[in-house]
Each structure stands twice: as structure tokens, then as C-alpha cells.
Symmetry: C4
Subunit: 202 residues, 4 copies
């Protein structure tokens, strides 16, 4: 019966999530601001490079998350209260990302402890997002409970690939405490790796 | 005939509402700002805790509202002018929430009367939103006028559960005048209660 | 053939427009800000009333525009380049509304010439939006060119009702130059009039 | 099989893109701000003209991009990882546009080198967006790999018309270094050209 939320209807859940992803990714630009002072505009535009770095990394990373979200919802056959809750908690972590991105951009220019703190904070946010994804995926895939018929194999593959997210970002966060550029290079490389074309995957 | 707004077509109304919910929930992050001053970044990030609290409570609450909106529109079979109006008034109250959330976060750190005022204002906004939901639901469910055939029982259940919203938030608002932490704990607990998994509900 | 934009496909045009309406309406809250100074929070919250007035009038008015947009697109059977252009110009005027709303709220508190200027500017924006609607509707309805078969009568009715928008807002704009409260009362009344339930319209 | 992202399903990709376009276009208004100082409001509203110019040009240009995006996705029959990546990179450039628009508006009023720098930066952003479109289109149209059956001719036509974007904006960027008004007139004219009604195109 079509009258309870315990139903096979992921369309509106996906539309809502698409909205949150799209807005979070587009809000990133609002945090790019020119520095004050007496330099020429050309100098200020160059000095804004940390904001560009943060914009690109965060944009690509949210884009990848959206693609992942899209991919796993293709495998999900029905909606439950638990799925709505898991999805909401994931969105809570994704929509938070513009804040650490600004914090990072604001402190990347200056060296010292605050730069490290900002990078740890930025990288740690990705751990929390990875936990959010893991949680959502557990809700959906445990015993293939919400997996659409015929998608069990693809679901198992997703489960395998999701093993690496939390450890990977935990590693980059530890690295951040020692070397800011190495941490950002790793996070950027993980995004780039995803971007490169790949052979036909099953 | 498909040419007047008095028609069975809730799809675009839901899409528009999804957009407003998604944007309101994502705008919350824009209101998180670091305090000024000479502290280290780590100290500032910790001192920002009231913004995190406000972000999480408001995010989860808007998410719950979205889920409720979603659930009741599953029961609604057709759109009327009155439904569009009721829905618009509800969205007016939901989209307002980022403002009291900022006010709360900005005043939570400091004690005294302003902290209480901010919490009363925040909690009172939920009363207004609950009134908005009640209004929308009355428009839709009065005499089952707009309820889809076969969904009457589910609609009656929604009517029962909606009885508690206005009194509950009226209570937390009164509590806020006496104890800010108790009010926030209650509002947070109401959100958490919704989040926990529940047995199979009909 | 499905390969040119000259096609019967208004779905994505409506989705894009829904997005712009939903964002413009939700951005309004970002412009509500507490005044500075030494007053208590309660006093500041009261002193913010012009922002609340602007928020409510603009929110309801954008909501009405959305509903109108929704209503006329129900009558439109196919998309042309001209329709996309007309729709874009309309959205350009709608998405501009948060700016005059802020200007109005910022100057309503203080009397004098600036208050009048702000109100004229605010009301004049509605003239421009009404022109945008008229333009879009002319593109769609001229010779019933894009009107879906069977919707000609409903289209004629829309054409009749659209006659009043531009003169009405021209009138309120002239009124604004003489009396700010009268102008706002009229604009608010026009929004309220739309909100009240109405008998069965054909 | 419906379980991998290598699938014929562009609907959610388009919905996400629509969201980003709609948000980027609507955020433009947030960057319009009155100058400070002691002038009357009427004088300030007039002095804000560079923001209006930037708003209109950027709004129309993003609108045209959306229409182009819409048009090419009508020809695309299936989604691949490469298409998602190409689309994401395009959105990255489009969502960036509010920043150069603000930079332009902030520096247009004052003459001198910064005005020129701002215009070069603004115009150069369009080169990057044109590259993004070219990239996306190459991914989709190379060997008609992702083109829907029967749309090959329309795709060839798009390929032809896309030849001019990068050179055209490279030209306006070079012009900007010599004459700011000429550059803006050209960019505006390119947008206007698109807006004018055209005869029946195949």
C-alpha cells in the first residue's frame, strides 16, 4: 500500500539529496574572497590561490560523493525510515564541508600551527563523511535488505571498495599533523585518481 | 481538463518544496563563523561549539520536516489553490529557520538574558513551523478532501501524531525561559527520538 | 525528431525554473540581520521588524509567481528557443528580488527620502517582473502558438487576468512616492488577496 | 544490467546539473551590494550600475550555458564515468562565475589597471568554461560514442557550432587588455545575439 514511508520509493529521497549536493558544491564559491590591503588586483588574485585550491579539491570531492551516492542508490530498491535517517546524517556531513574549506583557505597562506590545525580539521571532515557513507551503506546493504533484486553482486563490490575510505582519510589526517602539503597532495591525488578514465569495469 | 491549477498534480509542488527544504538545510552552514581575536585556530574551532550545536539540531529538524512533508504528500491525491497556499506558508516558516539558528549560536556562548531570549526565539520558531504543518495538513485532510483513495487510515494516523507538535514546542519554549540547556536538550531529544530505528510501523 | 531544442519538452525548463524560484525564495532569509549596538537581544529582535515585513511580502510574492509560472506551464505544450529566452528573462527579474528586499528592509526603519526611494525601488521591481511575465506569456500564447491542444480557453483566461499586473504595480510605485505605508499595504494586500481561499474556479 | 554506473541514465546527472546551474545563477544577486558613504539612496542605487551590468551579463550567459547543456544532453543516450567527470569539470567552471562577476563589479567603477585586470579575469573565465564545454562534448561525441541513435547529424552540427567558443572568448580577453568597454560590449553582444529570435533552425 502506498500510504506509509516504509515503501519502495527512492525518487524523492534522491531529488532532495541531489539538491543538497548541488547547493553545497555551489556554495563553495561564496567563500572565495580577495584579501584586503593595497596590492594591485592582479597581486590579490594571485594571493587568493589557497581559496582556489580549496575550491577545486572540495568541488571535485563533493562531485565524487554525489557520483557515489548516485551509484549506490541505483542498487537500492526501497526506502525505509532507517535509510532516510542514514541519508540525512550523510548529508549533514557533506553540507558541512564549505566551512572547513573556508577555514583551510583562510589559514593556508600563513605558516605555523594554525595552518596545520586547519588542514587536520579539513582532512578530518572527510573521515566523518566517509563514516556517513559507511553508515548509509550498512543500512542499505546489511543482508542485502534494501538491495534491489539482481544487484547483490554489484552491492558486494561496493562494500569492498568502501573499506578503504575511512582508513585512507585517517591516514591523510595523521599526515596533516606533520606536513600540510603532503596531506593536501594526497587528498588531491585521491580525487584525481577518481577522475582519470578507466577501462571497462564490470 | 488539464488546464486549471485545481488538478491532481502534486509533482511540481513537491519538487519546489524539496528545493526549499534542501536550500534551507544547506544554508545553515553559511552561518557558522569563527570568532575573531587572538586565540589559536584550535581554540577558536572549539569555541565555535554553539554553532555546531545549532547546525546539528536545525539540520536534523529540517530533515525530519522534509521527511514528514514527504510522508504526507504521499497521501495527498490532488492539488488545490488552498494546498498551494498552505504549502507556501509552511515553507515560509521553514525557510526562516537559519535566522533563529544564527541568533541562537551567536548568543549561546554568553550567559544572561540574551541567551535566554535567543533560545526562546529559537524554540518559538518551531511552534510556528508546527502550526504551519498543522495548517497544511488541515487543508489536505479535512473530510479527507484531498486524500488519495485508500489512504484514509494512514491519514487518520498522521492526524493523531500531529496533535503533539504544537504543545511539545510550546512546552520547550516555556522551559527556555527558565533553563536554556534543558530546552535545547529537549529539542535535541525530540530530534534524536525520531532518528532511532523503530519496529515495523504499519 | 528529438535532436533539436525546438521540441515539445518543457520538463527540464520547469525543473530549472523551480530551482531558481526555490533558491531566490530561500535566499531572502540571508538578508535578515540584527542591528548592532548595545540594546538587549529582545529589543534588537523587535527592531528587526522591517526585515520580517520584507521577508514575508517577498516570500509570498515569489511563491505566487511560482504558482503562476506553474499554472501557465501547464498550458504550454512545447518548447522553443523563444520560450527559453522569455523564461530566462523572467527568471532574471525574479532572482533579482532579494536585493530590493534588503534595500527596503535596511531603509524602512529610518524615515525621510531614502525610505521613499527604497519603497519605489522595491515596488518598481514588481513592475519589471510583471513585464517579464507578460513577455513570457506573449511568447507562449500569441496565436496559441505553444498552447497545448484543448487549453485555448484557459489560456484566454490567463491573458485576461494578466492585464492587471503591470498597471497595478505601476500604481503602487506611484503611491510609494507619496506614502510608504500605503504602498506596502497595497502590495501586501495584493499578496493576501491571492492567499485567501476561493470558490471553485473553472 | 542496472547495477553499474556505466549505464543509459542521464536523468539524475541532468537534475544535479540543473541544480548547480540554478544555484550559480541565483547566487549572483548576493554579490550586489550598495556602496557605503553619505550619498542618498538614489545616488547609491545609481552608483551600483556595474553590479547590475555584471548581474545581467553573467545571468544571461549562465542561462545560455544551461540551454546549451540541456541541448547537448538531449543528444546523449547513455552515461559513462567519463561523462560524469567531464560534466563535473564543466560545472566546476560554471559555479566559479559568481566570483569573477563580483571582482568585475567591484572594480568597474574605478578606472586604471585594476579595472582592466578585472575584465581580463572575467573574460578569461569564459574561456575556461568554453574549454569545459568542449571537453564534455568531446567525451560525448567522439566517434558518436554516447550519442543517441538517430542524433548523429544534430551532434555534428553542435560540433561545428562549438568551434567558435574558445577563439571568441580568447579574442574578447585580449581586447579587455586594451579596452574594457569594448570587451564588455562584445561579451554582452554575444549573449544578446543568442537571445534574439531566430528562424526555424533544423
Amino acid at each position: 500500500m502506498a500510504s506509509t514511508p516504509e515503501q519502495n520509493d527512492t525518487a524523492r529521497l534522491e531529488a532532495f539529496s541531489d539538491g543538497v549536493f548541488a547547493i553545497a558544491i555551489t556554495l563553495l564559491v561564496l567563500e572565495i574572497r580577495l584579501p584586503g590591503g593595497n596590492a594591485t588586483l592582479a597581486q590579490k588574485l594571485l594571493a587568493t590561490w589557497p581559496s582556489y585550491v580549496g575550491y577545486v579539491i572540495s568541488f571535485v570531492t563533493i562531485g565524487i560523493m554525489w557520483a557515489n551516492h548516485h551509484a549506490i542508490f541505483r542498487l537500492i530498491g526501497r526506502t525505509t525510515h532507517g535509510l532516510i535517517v542514514g541519508n540525512l546524517l550523510l548529508l549533514l556531513t557533506v553540507a558541512f564541508l564549505p566551512f572547513p574549506t573556508t577555514v583551510l583557505a583562510d589559514h593556508l597562506r600563513h605558516g605555523g600551527g594554525d595552518q596545520r590545525t586547519a588542514t587536520v580539521f579539513y582532512s578530518a571532515t572527510f573521515i566523518v563523511i566517509a563514516i556517513g557513507f559507511q553508515l548509509l551503506w550498512q543500512v542499505a546493504s546489511y543482508n542485502n535488505r534494501l538491495i534491489a533484486p539482481g544487484c547483490e553482486d554489484a552491492a558486494a563490490e561496493v562494500s569492498r571498495s568502501y573499506r578503504y575510505g575511512i582508513p585512507a582519510y585517517t591516514f591523510t589526517t595523521i599526515v596533516a599533523a606533520f606536513s600540510v602539503p603532503t596531506c593536501l597532495a594526497l587528498v588531491g591525488a585521491m580525487a584525481l585518481y577518481w577522475l582519470i578514465p578507466r577501462g571497462r569495469v564490470r
